[in-house]
Amino acid sequence: MISQLSWKIGGQQGEGVESTDRIFSTALNRLGYYLYGYRHFSSRIKGGHTNNKIRISTTPMRAISDDLDILVAFDQESIDLNAHELRSGGVVVADAKFNPTLPEGIDARLFAVPITSIAEELGTSLMKNMVASGASWALLGLPLEVFNKAVEEEFGRKGAAIVEKNVEAVKRGSEYVLELAGGPLEDFRLEEADGKQKLFAIGNENIGLGCIAAGCRLMSAYPITPASEIMEYLIKKLPKFGGTVVQTEDEIAAATMAIGANYAGVRTMTASAGPGLSLMMEAIGLAGMTETPLVIVDTQRGGPSTGLPTKQEQSDLNAMVYGTHGEIPKIVIAPASIEDCFYDTVEAFNLSEQYQVPVIIMTDLQLSLGKQSCEELDYDQIRIERGKLVKEAPEIEEKALFQRYELTADGVSPRVLPGVKHGIHHVTGVEHDETGRPSENARNRQLMMDKRLGKLAKLEIRDALRVDAPHEAPELLIIGMGSTGGTIDEARARLEKGGRKTNHITIRQIHPFPTDLLTPYLERAERVLVIENNATAQLANQIKMHAGHGEKIRNLLKYDGTPFLPSEVYQACKELN
């Protein structure tokens, strides 16, 4: 019996790789396994190699695996491109149609199943994915009813006849392969899972769910990979709650529309990736200057320019921290898990209203699109805090203005929404006085700058650092952000096994930088390794700039478009001097 396994399906884009993966993993999730998925895709819609990999485990994990146990291949290219990942003794299930062969030196078992012909016999080659997934499910010896239930849900909309055909395809695929293999593969038998009910979602869906839970009722956005799923999720759900999504003409409109809506009192967000973030910069400044709440999600992908639009990277950090001209208060939060995607989104809306600042939620492609198991989300943790928003304004003399930018001890002023009597005030991106009227007065300018920039002086978000630091004085402190946490955890476990005292910190509050929280850990570590998916060590530079200790800090950088593997991190740590 084994406790984990990794499975990959590869083929041409548009060939059913996605739906096969979806059904296969939904069924596994129902059985209570922990799953972690990785999508390899390109910007083409049809054609071009694509593959989905899932790691299946009986215990929690949040990283892709170094190697591969089972490869399901729709074409020879999928074998040629992926066979090197197979561990020795691995399995390839391939379509007999193309006379599959294993590249030289690959020690794996090949099962050629007439995937296309079985599907065609049943009526359409479209059902190849069902034949293939049925075959690989059967090899694992898992209960077929659970799989069939997932098939039923996938095709239910299309009627009973279609469901029946697909179930038949699964059956034929499984029978054929079991005949070839002489029954389920004993060395691939998974231990039973904990059976705990879990969610199975991508980060973007949890962000969408977080929006709704936070009371966000409007999203204005322009489609882009890898952010679009947030929009697609919300357009399905928001109408049920009276809200909607507007697909704007560009990201400038998306961000400014969100500012207008937040100003008028609806929690509104937008989401994009690097190119869109670049277009939003002036709007972010407007939100900062007018102290209007605004939530933006940046799902990072490979930059610069169009870069690697479907690949992993964490290279927008500087743009998020420094972006927009002039100086404004701004919060940048980096969720580091699928659960964070939900809770941080709720918190982002609260922070943006409590501090009246733009908040950027920073994810990366792997976190946004990697489908994975998620612990049940806790309804009782959802709290909606609107800060100094007032429902009514005290009576004032005619034509007097509400002190929207009143200088207060904490720098946050009362906020009133249009429509409220006695609440009239002016809002402008021009420097202004306490009523919002333009003012170039030097003293006022200084007071207002200090007011705005001082608002976040004491900010500390929930789990600003996620600390796993069992050692008082570790040989090594590994620091990362975003989706890399699970990978680092695994490398760290291996290092510990080898006797290397290693701590791990995930920085979740990227800006304002949590200097005071991080400093003691830096001080006590002999060596610090900062791991990030970019070429210029943007996170490490923040650490050095704010907390010093540059002499101890080393970088592990990867910017080839692929996420870190546990083995790469492990190796880099071992070789570290």
């Binding site: 009722r217 704007t248 409109a253 509104t268 400044g285 021009v430 009227r437």
Partner: protein
């Protein structure tokens, strides 16, 4: 009911004496009072330019945004609170150069917003460069030998983008302008009102006298039917765009807010934010 005086504030505009923008300000204040608004129920969103300052000169909720983006901001305000009357305003550069993309799409979207362009055929605030509305051959600081680009016709563009309310006026004609703004506010959908607003400082060509001489008033054509799209387009072309009055009015198309499925008549901003446990569990069940 508020009078137009209640829409005045005590800020002295920093426009040059004689600038066309003064009358537009007055017309908005009069129209707001005439249609029965209270100051707190009016939101004026403006762009950047001399014209953009207008939101600071009216006693109402005012938002002075960034250059070219008055319309997306105004649409956000409207989506958030349908009960507000939303007026967007800005210059010809704001709406037809940097913000042209938004203008066309705001027209297509057809939210219930009144958009008043203060068209002086020049960039006033930045001290006299060419605008998309500057005539060919017009010499400005940025076109010392005269503009070599063709003039943009916002009316034709609006018509072809599916506008439901297209009007044009002249800032000297306070009566017509006020009536058109009232009609625009009363129109259920997006109304574009382009207003010739002479810049006395940087535009020595399109002056008050020049407009008086060249403008054709639609009131002079009693048979003109503003619901006829082809007639409207023809009239715009015949007059080279130098016409004033209500050019096109389509009352059959519903505004965006009424077409969004699930959108409730009371403002979104007034709705409950907190989900019930039941609603939340239904949402998470889909991920199991």
């Amino acid at each position: 009911m508020a009078t137009f005086k209640e829409f005045r504030n005590n800020v002295k505009p920093n426009w040059c004496p004689g600038c066309g923008d003064f009358s537009i300000q007055a017309a908005i204040q009069r129209a707001a009072a005439n249609v029965g608004l209270e100051p707190e129920n009016l939101a004026v969103v403006s762009g950047i330019g001399c014209s953009g300052r207008i939101s600071g000169y009216i006693h109402a909720y005012g938002l002075h945004g960034i250059h070219g983006r008055a319309l997306p901001i105004a649409q956000g305000v409207k989506l958030a609170n349908r009960e507000l009357t939303v007026v967007a305003s800005g210059g010809d550069g704001d709406g037809f150069a940097i913000g042209m993309g938004h203008t066309v799409h705001a027209i297509r979207r057809n939210m219930d917003i009144t958009y008043i362009v203060m068209d002086n055929q020049i960039y006033g605030l930045t001290k006299g460069q060419t605008s998309p509305r500057s005539a060919e051959g017009f010499k400005t600081k940025s076109t010392p030998e005269g503009s070599i680009e063709s003039v943009l016709s916002p009316l034709e563009i609006a018509m072809s983008a599916g506008a439901t309310f297209v009007a044009q006026s002249f800032s000297s004609d306070l009566k017509q302008l006020t009536a058109l703004i009232e009609a625009g506010i009363n129109h259920k959908g997006f109304s574009l009102i382009n207003v010739f607003s002479p810049c006395v400082t940087f535009n020595k060509v399109n002056t008050y006298d020049w407009f008086k001489e060249n403008i054709v008033k639609l009131e002079e054509f009693p048979d003109y039917d503003p619901t006829n799209r082809i007639a409207a387009m023809t009239k715009i072309m015949e007059t080279g765009g130098l016409l004033t009055g209500l050019i096109y009015h389509n009352q059959t198309r519903k505004p965006y807010e009424e077409l969004v499925s699930g959108f409730r008549p009371e403002g979104l901003a007034k709705q409950e934010l907190q989900l019930s446990r039941d609603e939340f569990e239904q949402l998470t069940a889909e991920f199991k």
